[in-house]
């Protein structure tokens, strides 16, 4: 295939990056394989499980069904960009404190979506919050502790 590489410029976790990407690659593949940010996980690869969620311009999306070339000119934040000054963010700490992590595979995506919710700065009911997080599958926790962690931060 000709013209397989395309140069794109975007902000990644606060730093401007210019990279040549294969136009056939998903954002998730570019993050994990080319940029070595392996925090975002590859689960279903069809946009159902949410393990690959990252923020684009402040909104959580599934990076497995999003072509990398589409982030040209945009701002991307991954789980690696959630911590603050080397310390866990409030949301990450809440996941730890509430026992919202078991195997951990869904955690990165959930923390990204929960952080996007937190940054909207609105309080919300548990039902609204659950709807907002319904794009994530977790096979371990039964969701209860995850909901408690997010509730604790959003509705503090």
């Amino acid at each position: 295939m000709s013209d397989v590489l395309k140069k794109i410029t975007f902000t990644l976790n606060g730093k401007e990056r210019t990279v040549e990407v294969d136009v056939r690659k998903s954002l998730l593949d570019v993050l994990r394989d080319d940029l070595e940010l392996t925090g975002s996980k590859k689960g279903c690869e069809v946009g159902e499980c949410g393990a690959c969620a990252v923020m684009i311009n402040g909104e959580s999306i599934d990076s497995c069904i999003y072509l990398a070339v589409w982030v040209d000119g945009k701002e991307v934040r991954t789980i690696e960009g959630i911590e603050k000054d080397g310390k866990l963010s409030e949301m990450q700490q809440a996941f730890v404190d509430e026992g919202a992590i078991q195997c951990g595979f869904c955690t990165a995506g959930l923390v990204v979506s929960a952080t996007a919710l937190e940054e909207r700065g609105e309080k919300m009911s548990k039902d609204e919050m659950k709807k907002e997080l319904s794009g994530h599958l977790c096979r371990c926790t039964g969701y209860h502790n995850i909901a408690s962690a997010v509730d604790k931060v959003i509705n503090k």
Binding site: M1, S2, D3, K6, D22, V23, R24, K25, S26, D29, E45, V46, G47, E48, G50, A53, I56, E59, S60, I61, D62, I65, Y66, L67, V69, W70, D72, S113, K131, E132, L133, S134, G135, H136, L137
Partner: protein, 290 residues
């Protein structure tokens, strides 16, 4: 890595039309949430894709002085859910957008893709049908506007030609003013699922009588359909539980569901009856019926 042969990025609408004309195998990728999944799951090879993400005008939702609402093809479901014009005038479409897939998907998946790929389960297709929308198709060779009733040709097959872009969905004032509506997506899960039946009903009342009823169904036939028999029957009827039950029964006559692994024909027929009754009851309540 996705297995396609070429990728074009259109910076403007004119450029997009030109690319489609000059590359007879090129096809549009909108949000990508259908086509990318299909490439992977069905092992489709050799596609030539054209992205239209950078064309700002395709994301606009507006209303003109005559009250016609225009929805750009690249408006995402998340935008439909939250846009003031939609929530004020055609809230059923916003609610239908709010039940597609999951939250992350709704931020990238678009109404244009949902309509143009012709999927019978498309959650917004039924609302687009119920509001008698018009679809604007543009190409380097000219533009045309067609009624949604002429748009669906068969399963996954619509009237969009290879060189055309579905740029806008138009809804006229006479098709939404005074109507109230309800969309029911019947599926096994609340999120991340495809409908067993989609049912969009809008109605208008004259006193306590139905002056206009429109029932649109998804997954009740090879393409999204309208229930003409039920709609004609409903006109002029008093808003009563009995009448609504009867209208639901008539809707079953219009449906042509089939057996699939997701649900049997008999089950879907029952869903058509029950869902149209429930949606019409809610729509009538919203319209002030007793």
């Amino acid at each position: 890595m996705y297995d396609f042969n070429k990728y074009f990025e259109a910076e403007t609408l004119d450029e997009a039309k030109k690319i489609l004309k000059e590359n007879p195998n090129a096809q549009i990728v909108a949000g990508g949430s259908d086509i990318l999944v299909e490439i992977r799951e069905k092992h489709i090879e050799g596609l030539e894709l054209m992205g239209i993400h950078k064309i700002k005008e395709l994301k606009e939702i507006s209303i003109d002085s005559e009250g016609t609402i225009s929805i750009g093809c690249m408006a995402t479901f998340h935008m439909l859910e939250n846009n003031e014009i939609i929530t004020k005038h055609i809230p059923m479409l916003g609610r239908a957008g709010g039940v597609v897939g999951g939250p992350q998907l709704r931020k990238v998946a678009t109404i244009g893709g949902n309509i143009a790929n012709g999927a019978v389960s498309a959650d917004t297709a039924t609302s687009v049908w119920a509001y008698n929308s018009q679809l604007v198709l543009e190409s380097a060779d000219g533009n045309r506007t067609i009624d949604v009733k002429d748009f669906y040709l068969g399963p996954g097959w619509t009237d969009v030609k290879q060189n055309e872009i579905l740029t806008k969905i138009l809804i006229k004032k006479e098709d939404y003013e005074g109507f109230s509506g309800e969309y029911i997506k019947f599926s096994q899960r609340k999120a991340l699922d495809i409908a067993n039946l989609g049912c969009a009903v809008i109605c208008k009342l004259d006193g306590n009588k139905f002056s206009d009823v429109r029932i649109a169904l998804g997954v009740a036939g090879p393409v999204p359909i309208r229930c003409k028999t039920a709609e004609d029957y409903a006109k002029g009827l008093e808003v009563t539980e009995e009448n609504i039950n009867e209208i639901g029964k008539k809707a079953v006559l219009d449906g042509k569901p089939r057996d699939s692994w997701r649900a049997s024909k008999a089950y879907r027929q029952q869903l058509i009856e029950i869902c149209s009754q429930r949606a019409l009851t809610k729509a009538a309540q919203l319209a002030g019926g007793k």
